[in-house]
């Protein structure tokens, strides 16, 4: 397994950031700041650089190039595998069955024999991530681990793009399947946010839209929590994730994040389902705990001889950590070691297996890591 990483920025253009020498990559993963892909030129340049590779990528809320967190850049990582075989599938959100239907179509497009793991990139503003993962697992079953993330649009939440062998477009989803006995995949996901305040019950919600907690408007509670940041809704709601769990089952807790606000109805749109009757608790982040959380995710994802780690971290973490954001990537690097190259992006939702469970789900506000090694 050999890797070459290139970074594109305004002014400097494409630069090689790291390289294992001349290689014949089967796969190029790229993560691009919103706006950088609009004229299609960057994708054409990538295609020209790697004419034989499959090129998969999406827009972001920040790009990770090893220990650097960038804004306004494109990070492309070309990977040459010694033994591992790959397969791809893609679809759009417009088809039948909504997000779950899209998940079923993606999974159905990947041959089942020899499949070891799946990495998914999805549109981040039109997709219910919970339903998407459920749809994928309905076809693949619980034995195949699914990781990935929802594409980002900075902190704007307007338009997110995904592309497979084409310039990324909105409403698209793509999956990459890893095949063969030699490929080893590791997974780790961790938040590090702290719950604050009393548990409240979700008393009014529909799908991914939350209206009331304990019969009180949820938006009013968020405004109180956000204080002066309330003017920057919905982006600032990322500073207050919502931890939810079924009544009496705190061990099945998930963290949900706001991706939009409907001021007319007072509804808060989340990246995943917020079922009525669930117990909810607001969270706040402490800088050091979030950075330590990224390290915990890396410890879980660590596998021997990992050469590449794909980091999908939540835009909310970046919003809170600000200029300190590279600290969480450094925390990951210090666990995985110098030999493991990092790439990835800041997302609108992370996909990973649940802890202590064979099932995968949509996570929010986490650092989610997929590590790849070849035996």
């Amino acid at each position: 397994m050999r890797i070459e990483q290139r970074v594109w920025r305004i002014g400097t253009g494409w630069r090689v950031a790291a390289s294992d020498g001349a290689l014949a990559p089967a796969l190029v993963l790229f993560f691009a700041a919103p706006g950088t892909l609009d004229d299609g030129k960057r994708f054409a340049e990538l295609r020209a650089l790697y004419p034989a590779a499959a090129i998969l990528g999406c827009t972001t809320g920040g790009e990770i190039a090893d220990v650097d967190v960038l804004d306004g850049a494109i990070v492309a990582t070309a990977i040459e595998f010694a033994h591992t075989r790959l397969a791809f599938a893609e679809t759009t959100i417009e088809g039948d069955g909504g997000s779950a239907g899209a998940g079923r179509r993606l999974a159905g497009g990947l041959p089942r024999v020899g499949l070891r793991g799946v990495f998914v990139l999805s549109d981040g503003t039109h997709v219910n991530g919970t339903d998407l993962v459920a749809g994928i697992q309905k076809v693949l079953g619980p034995d195949i681990a699914v990781t990935g993330g929802l594409a980002g649009d900075g902190a704007r939440f307007v338009s997110t793009r995904v592309g497979l062998n084409a310039n990324p477009v909105p409403g698209r989803l793509a999956a990459l399947g890893f095949y063969g006995d030699e490929v080893c995949l590791g997974f780790g996901s961790f938040g590090g946010w702290d719950t604050v305040g009393p548990e409240r019950v979700i008393t009014r919600a529909q799908g991914t839209v939350l209206y009331e907690l304990d019969d009180q408007p949820a938006l009013a509670l968020y405004r109180k929590y956000l204080g002066p940041e309330a003017d920057n809704l919905p982006a600032s709601a990322l500073l207050c994730p919502l931890r939810i769990h079924p009544p009496g089952k705190p061990e099945a807790a998930l963290v949900r994040t706001v991706i939009g606000v409907d001021n007319a109805s007072g509804g808060m749109v989340f990246a995943g389902s917020v079922p009525e009757g669930y117990v909810a608790q607001l969270m706040l982040g402490h800088f050091d705990n979030l950075i330590a959380g990224a390290g915990r995710a890396a410890e879980r994802a660590a596998i021997p001889q990992a050469r590449l780690a794909i980091l999908v971290s939540c835009i909310g973490r970046k919003l809170l950590l600000g200029q300190q954001i590279a600290d969480e990537v450094e925390a990951v690097k210090s666990v995985l070691g110098a030999a493991c190259k990092l790439t990835g992006f800041y997302s609108y939702g992370e996909i990973a297996p649940l802890e202590n469970s064979p099932f995968c789900d949509l996570h929010n506000q986490t650092m989610t890591i997929t590590t790849i090694a070849e035996a």
């Binding site: 604050v196 305040g197 009393p198 109180k224 800088f287 600290d327």
Partner: protein, 435 residues
Amino acid sequence: MHRLLERQLARARRDTPDGETDLETLLALVDAAYLEFDRQRRVLAHTQEIMRDEYGLINAGLSRLRDAITQMGAGFAIWDSNDRLVLCNALLREILPQNAELLRPGVAFADCIVNMAPHFGSFGGAEKVNDWVTKRVALHRDPADPFEITLADNRHVRIWEAKTSEGGIVGVYIDVTESKRAEGELRRAKEAAESANRSKSLFLANMSHELRTPLNAIIGFSEIMQGEMMGPLGDRRYLTYAHDIHDAGAHLLEIINDILDMSKIEAGKFELDAEWVDLGELIDGVVNMVRARAHEAGLTLHVAAAGLLSVFCERRALRQVLLNLIGNAIKFTPAGGRVDIAAKVTADGGVAVAVADTGVGIAPQNIPLALMPFGQIELTLSRAHGGVGLGLPLSQRLAELHGGHLEIASTVGSGTTVSVTLPPERVSRSALRSA
């Protein structure tokens, strides 16, 4: 150098073509770092503020709950998943004084039960102390419906227990000794009342029989005297007296018969002796009996019968019902009024006989009372109009014995309509006559 500043410097060097950083750039970086720490301080200050607010909210909720648990009118306890006491209120210690010392946070439920064992009375049929302990602990771990235990001091405690979401048990314990005692008293009073009622019915049935025998002699002999069957009575006043004795005796017999019928019905011993009866003929017969009385009272009687109708009923009973209703109508209607008797087929094929008067009427709240045996006495109508108030209730019971019913519609001051309805299966529209 601080890690953040160091990283920013490295970035700045990398991003400038010659790798050199001028003072202005350096100052901008330092400034950004200061601003960043200002922002972080604001975030943390706001976080602290929220935590303080939320802590106040949690604390207020806790105080409310603690207050409710202290003030509630029942013993209350929460046991954790290891079955150890988390908290209980003072009332629980009062209800179980034998455990008052033991009931402190951390005590095991089983220890409390073992301590209580010598004081138990009975519970779920367990006779031995060990059985009681085993049964009680098992029920506590897997609670079902509420149940009661009896303590050795004869107190009864009602227990409701349920699982909490964290795998513990929440329990409510109520001393129901007082309500058990009241319940027992009520039950005994009810039994006594039922027994008294049975005795009354039996007494009335016997008395009626005893009263009727001498009455037969009074009525029979006064009839003979009235008819002067054994020669003239001499002074005409004797004839008037004999007439009065006969009428009074007949009236008394009617009352005794009503009481006897009512007693039989209440005792469930009235049996119908039904036959096919021509309704029109029956109504005509009754009207003929009361026509003179109506005339004397200055009333007019009007009959509208619906053609040829036969009803399957006890002739004597139906006649009595009609006599009662028409008699009442005459009794309670002032001179110059009218009484209408109408028989018609109902929508479902039954028959309804309605007796309508232009009398004093009955207030709505008094209708239930008028239908109660002897209720008329309470209404103080009997004093003015005579009678014991059995007519309406007896008519109602007789109608019901026929599977029918009796209804009263009345407006005070303008009149009353009483209808007796018999069900379709008792009605034939052919001209069938009793043999």
